[in-house]
């Protein structure tokens, strides 16, 4: 907007606020948290969606995760592998939320199936656009056991085997077995 009006200039805002010049050498936790939010919000939202959490609920979980991270950093706690930390906390909070939703559904007499539905599948239009192979692969992925799907999603988000093992509380061997099993199914579906 300013470019259309001559004589205006946009002031540069220094990336580290002046207040920090004589503060913590690592910068304000707020800025660090926002930088991590920008980096990991989408991967976390995708992962939560693959757990069956709707986007709106996923956003809430993510806010809670990053506020916990803010407190974690403010109190000077361990900062190694924050990516693993974020996914682990998000995973645990999401499962708690799902459990709570299930209990509430049970008390309201709902089956819970609609509450735990996966993120909405492709619309009829999208289904036409998707190739048959794609649809078959999608169906295979949806039909995988939940833990196998979690392993695949975390791996697709770039997490290492060791990180996946920590997040899902599995052994390293179990992670590689799970991934191997899932990929074998996907390979079989692609062959048909």
């Amino acid at each position: 907007m300013a470019s259309r009006i001559t004589g205006w200039t946009v002031l540069p805002v220094s990336p580290v606020p002046r207040e920090l010049d004589h503060g913590d050498a690592r910068g304000r936790p707020e800025e660090e948290v926002v930088a991590l939010f920008d980096q990991f919000r989408d991967p976390l939202l995708r992962y939560l969606s693959s757990l069956g959490i709707q986007f709106a609920d996923g956003e809430e979980v993510i806010q809670e995760v990053f506020l916990s991270l803010f407190q974690h950093l403010r109190h000077g706690k361990a900062r190694d592998n924050l990516r693993g930390w974020l996914f682990r906390v998000a995973h645990n909070l999401a499962l708690k939320r799902r459990y709570r939703t299930l209990r509430e559904s049970a008390s309201l007499g709902k089956t819970g199936a609609e509450e735990l539905a996966m993120a909405p599948g492709p619309s009829p239009e999208e289904q036409v656009v998707n190739s048959q192979t794609q649809q078959r692969l999608q169906a295979v992925v949806q039909a995988l056991p939940e833990q196998d799907r979690r392993c695949l999603s975390l791996r697709a988000e770039g997490l290492r085997y060791r990180e996946i093992a920590e997040i899902l509380d599995m052994s390293l061997g179990a992670v590689s077995l799970s991934l191997g099993r899932s990929l074998a199914r996907i390979a079989r579906a692609a062959e048909r």
Binding site: L11, E30, V34, E59, Q63, Q138, E191
Partner: protein, 278 residues
């Protein structure tokens, strides 16, 4: 890891996957590669596993392509909630707070309440729930990507010659754009001042990059507190005690830090944050 017992046995899918993923030890990796050099069947299977990874990644990407909601609103909310937490429960507590565990609990409860309120608000922002009840998202610091600040190229004399130092009203359409940009399009307008980051009284421009929705009463660092800082800075600029460009930079960089600096306090003064909204 135990690899093939016999020369003529084949590699398992798990062994092939670990090779594809580079997860094998140097020793096992050498054994696998030497087997693959000789075994067409395992080589083909390895390619199939590689292909399955590519297929899954395509399915995974397609599932979310263009479907994730924008991050601006949630980011602005996160910033606001962090500012609230910092104000309610500062890390470096003053001496009178330190011995009291009861006060710790009060602070923790207040922080939890704020977090719960924030979560409710972000849900409402994403789902549109809560309407027609309007939202009041707490915003006390601007998102520097959306609002970096913009100023006119004006001299100190021009700025100080302005008789009217009140901020002129922001057009409603522009206000709506600002709310939308911050992901709080259903906001209660009376709860905010669509505020100039650099006030026009200090040469601030009438530009969306210089505008943000500042909460009036939901936070200690509210719009009225910033108004007091603007008055103080203008007074100092016009008295020749502060350079105009420096004042613009300080207020655009971190207005809360500037307030603390020029009012010599870590907390907003009561006479400022308790003023009535216009």
């Amino acid at each position: 890891m135990r690899l093939m017992k016999h020369e003529d046995s084949h590699l398992t899918d798990q062994q092939l996957l670990l090779d594809v993923e580079g997860q094998l030890s140097t020793h096992d990796g050498k054994l696998v590669r030497s087997h693959l050099d000789a075994c067409w069947k395992c080589r083909t299977r390895r390619q199939e596993i590689d292909q399955a990874i590519a297929d899954f990644v395509r399915v995974y990407q397609r599932e979310f392509e263009g479907k994730l909601p924008p991050a601006e609103g949630p980011r602005a909310l996160l910033r606001a909630q962090m500012a609230q937490l910092s104000a309610v429960a500062p890390i470096a507590r003053s001496r009178w707070l330190a011995p009291s565990r009861r006060i710790d609990w009060v602070l923790a409860a207040a922080a939890c309440g704020l977090a719960a309120l924030g979560l409710y608000l972000v849900r409402a922002a994403v789902t549109g729930q809560g309407r027609p009840h309007r939202q009041t998202v707490i915003v006390s610091i601007p998102d520097s990507r959306l609002t970096p600040g913009a100023a006119l190229l004006a001299s100190r004399q021009t700025v100080c010659a302005q008789a009217n130092t009140k901020n002129k009203a922001v057009p409603v359409a522009l206000q709506r754009e600002v709310f939308q940009e911050y992901g709080i399009s259903g906001a209660e307008p009376q709860a905010y001042e669509v505020d100039y980051l650099v006030t026009p009284a200090l040469g601030g421009a009438d530009d969306i990059r210089n505008l943000w929705p500042h909460s009036y009463s939901a936070t200690a660092w509210n719009a009225r507190v910033k108004d007091a800082l603007e008055d103080r800075l203008r007074e100092m600029v016009c008295d020749g005690r502060l350079d105009l460009t420096e004042a613009q930079r300080e207020i655009a960089g971190d207005w809360i830090a500037a307030y603390k600096k020029y009012f010599h306090t870590d907390h907003p003064l009561e006479e400022h944050w308790k003023q009535r909204a216009p």
